[in-house]
Structures are given as C-alpha cells and as structure tokens.
C-alpha cells in the first residue's frame, strides 16, 4: 500500500517536473521550427 502510494507520488512529481521544463522548451522549439520553415519557402 505504502509502496504504491510512493510510486504514485513519484509519478505526479515526475509529470510536474518534466512539464515545468518541457512546456516552455516545446514552445520555444515550435517558434523556432516555424521560423526555420522560411528556408524552404
């Protein structure tokens, strides 16, 4: 019971931590990809 609670807690922490860095990074990458497409226009 305690082990499953701990693994659920870990999963929440992982989602929050990766979301915290992943969302801004993904936004920046998408912006750059959109600008990069100009090379092919």
């Amino acid at each position: 019971m305690q082990a499953s609670e701990s693994s659920a807690g870990n999963a929440v922490k992982l989602i929050l931590a990766w979301g915290f860095v992943g969302i801004p990074l993904a936004w920046g990458v998408i912006e750059t990809v959109i600008n990069s497409l100009k090379l092919f226009q």
């Binding site: 693994s7 922490k13 931590a17 860095v21 990074l25 990458v29 600008n35 990069s36 090379l39």
Partner: protein
C-alpha cells in the same frame, strides 16, 4: 545555511532519479539565454533616440562587450569555482547561480535605466557571467552519479538545455520589450527586470528539487561491468592532479578544436549562406537556416552524448572529426555545384557535432578521471570553449576578409576557411587518437578517496 548543505539533499529511498534531469534543465534552460542576448543589442542603441540612435546612445561595439564579458566570466568562474561546487554540492551551486544570474539582470536593468553602460557590464557581464559558469557546471557530476549506466545521455540532456534556452529567451525577450515599449520609452530595463525575476524563480525550482544519491546507491538492476573497459576508470583523480596528466590537455585540445570549427560558422551562417548562394538564399531564408542550425545544435547535444554511451567517448569524437573533415571539405563543392541542399545538409550535421562535442565531454572526463571531481575538472576544461570562442570567429572573418581584399569572389571567399577548419579537425583527430587511460600514479589512494567523500 543548512538548507543548502549536501547533507540536506541526500535522496531518500525510492526517490526517482528522473527528477534530476528536470532540475538540471531548470538551470540550463535559463542560462542558455546567453545565446539570445543579441536581441537586446539593437533596441539598446536607441534608448535615447527611440526611433533611431541619437548622440549619447550606446554603439553596437560597446554593447558587444556585454556578451563577451559574460562568456569570459563563465569560463573564469567555472575554472576557479569548480572545486567549491564539488565540495558544497549542487544545491548550493544552483542557488548561488540563480542569485548571480537573476541578480545580474536586475543590476543591468538599473544600468539601462540610469544609462550607465559600466553598470550593465558589471551586472550581466561580471555577476551574470558568474551565474552562467556556476550554473553550467553545477548539475554535471550529480547527473553522472545518478546515471552511472548512461552518463552521456544524462549530461547530454542538461547541456541540451543550454542549447535550447535561447529558443525560449529570444521570443520571450522580444515580447517583453514590446509590452513595455511606449512612444517615448524602449522597454529594455523592464524586460531585464522581469527576466531577472523569472530566471531567479525558475532556477530556484531546480535548486529545490535537486538531490544527490545516498552513498553506495546504484540504479535498480545495475551491475558495474566485471571487466572494466580500458578507457573507463573506476578510480578517482584529484582535481589539480588531473591538470598534470596529458589526457586532460589532449581532451582540452579535442574540445577546443571541435568548438573552434563549429562556433566560427555558427556566428557567420546567415551571411555565409547568402554570399555563397546569392539570389537563392535570401535574408529571410538565411534566418530560417540559422534557426534550423540552432535546432540541430540542441538536438545533437542529446543525440551524440547518448550514442557515446554505446560506442564510447573516444569513438564518438573520432566520428566528429572524421565526418567533420569530409563535410567541411564538401562545402566548397556544394558552393561550386550550386547545391543548396548539400550545403544545408553539411552544416546541419556539422553543427549537431559541435553541440555533441560539448555534451559528450563531461562523460569523457568521467571515464578518464572518475566521478569524484568530474564537475571541477569539467569547469577547468571550459577554458577551451573560451579560447575557441575567440579563435573560431576570428579565423572565419579574417580569412574571408583577406580573400575578398585579394579579389576572390564572395561566393568563393569561404572556401579557404572550410579547408582550414578541416585541417583543425585533422589535428583534433590526432589528439583524440593519443588519449589513453590515465596512469595509476595519478589515482587517489584509498585513504584520500575516503577523506574526499566526507
């Protein structure tokens, strides 16, 4: 402060090691802003004149020093404070880096507000530069200790963040300046202030979640190889003893030459592509090319560092140098054939290997010198980057200028540079070839190791 001490951040049993890369990324995504600092340059030349430069406004040449000082102090602080970072642990280093980097922006905001460039030099260049250096090396040894099975991938992820930081900083800075700009004022100081606060908070999150593994911890199911590989040591070399080994200086040259070749073309990519393909690559397309190169620079950091876990660090650098020589030699051919596709492909692979060189080197150092002082040793190796930052652009710019002055057409003016870069990579290949295992006389003795661990 006990909150910052190493003892307070020992991970409890069951702590997921996958929380450490986001902690490292919190820092590296922020300090990667340095690559995007140039977005402030033009607005800062019009702080008085607003629509165009007026008497008393700063010149671009004055503003260029802000970035140069930042990079200089990045190298200096990484080299001087590496030992302090190792001894105090990653939280203290990340906390201090956050204060310096965020504080540097706040000081610079005051400098811009009172229109005193020396305050900006001190703020972003000196204080911010210390934040850059401390932040850059702070998570390296922690990641290596958490991922003994995949050290390349782990450090590659963090250093990828440094490459990706500009992707966030560039549009965010432009948006902030637009928000605070009025018909009578350019919103640079407010943008600096907001960025300083954002970066301070973001980096503090990294400092809060970072943990070090408990002594003797190993990943579940991980068994260290029974037969250690020839170029991977399980011993440790003291930070200053590493400087006495030929291996340190060979890796120093390997990094310096790999970076010199990449950094020169990265800075000149826009102009070079337009001059080599006049009429075919426009200014807008060239900006797209630069963006694409930045993506490959970031992606290469993760890709190549991860590959190095399977093929070994030495082989990874052999690939960088051998493939780099071929690709640099192909660039003039691409120009003479008028093949934009070949030109773009060559540079995208080259720039991925430039990023890969940065990301693979911490694991190379760990293989050679062990994990105990790898962060501090990495800090001292960063001086190779500072050196390459001067050599690379100088080589590209001066050889091109010399050729143009001697009547070479602009489209062919970069050919000599490409061959020079290929020669530099040949030298890098030779340096890499001579890297062997560190002699055991440099290894720390058992007693020293135990003392160092406390």
């Amino acid at each position: 402060m006990s909150f910052l001490s190493k003892e307070r951040i020992i991970a409890p049993p069951g702590y997921s090691r996958w929380l450490i890369p986001p902690a490292a990324l919190c820092v590296h995504l922020c300090i990667g802003q340095a690559y995007a600092f140039s977005v402030f340059n033009l607005p800062m030349t019009k702080l008085i004149g607003i629509t165009k430069s007026a008497p008393g406004d700063w010149a671009l040449t004055d503003l260029g020093w802000i970035f140069s000082l930042g990079i200089f102090f990045l190298g200096a602080s990484a080299a001087l404070l590496g030992r302090w970072v190792e001894d105090g642990g990653p939280r203290r280093a990340m906390f201090t880096a956050a204060l310096c980097f965020g504080g540097g922006f706040v000081i610079s905001a005051i400098g811009v507000y009172i229109h005193n460039i020396w305050v900006v030099y001190f703020g972003y260049g000196v204080v911010g530069g210390f934040g850059l250096g401390l932040g850059y090396i702070s998570p390296v040894s922690t990641l290596i200790k958490w991922f003994p099975d995949r050290p390349g991938m782990a450090t590659g992820m963090a250093i990828m963040g440094f490459g990706g930081g500009a992707f966030i900083a560039s549009p965010l800075s432009v948006w902030l300046m637009a928000k605070f700009t009025t018909p009578t004022h350019i919103g640079v100081p407010e943008a600096f202030l907001v960025l300083g606060v954002i970066y301070l908070c973001f980096m503090m999150v990294g400092a809060a979640i970072v943990r070090i593994p408990a002594p003797g911890w190993k990943p579940e199911g991980y068994v260290a190889p029974a037969q250690p590989k020839k170029l991977v040591t399980d011993k440790h070399v003291y930070v200053y003893d590493a400087l006495k080994t030929p291996q340190f200086w060979l890796i120093w040259w390997v990094l310096c030459l790999n970076v010199t070749a990449g950094i020169g073309v990265l800075g000149q990519a826009s102009a070079m592509s337009q001059e080599m393909f006049p009429g075919r690559i426009t200014a807008v397309a060239a900006a797209g090319f630069v963006g694409l190169m930045s993506l490959f620079n970031m992606g290469g950091r993760f890709f190549w560092a991860s590959i190095s876990d399977y093929i070994g660090r030495k082989n990874t650098y052999f690939v960088f140098f051998a493939l780099g020589i071929v690709l640099y030699a192909l660039v003039p051919t691409a120009g003479s054939l008028g093949s934009v596709e070949l030109f773009v492909m060559c540079f995208l692979v080259i720039i991925s290997m430039y990023g890969g060189g940065f990301a693979t080197v911490p694991a190379y150092l760990k293989d050679m010198f062990g994990t105990r002082y790898v962060g501090a040793i990495h800090g001292m190796l960063i001086t190779a980057w500072s050196m390459a930052g001067i050599f690379g652009p100088v080589l590209v710019n001066y050889i091109r200028a010399y050729n143009v002055a001697h009547g070479v057409a602009k489209a062919q003016a970069y050919n000599t540079t490409m061959y020079v870069m290929a020669v530099l990579l040949v030298i890098g290949f030779i340096c890499n070839y001579f890297i062997t295992a560190v002699h055991e006389r440099h290894h720390m003795k058992r007693g020293e190791e135990a003392e160092a661990m406390t």
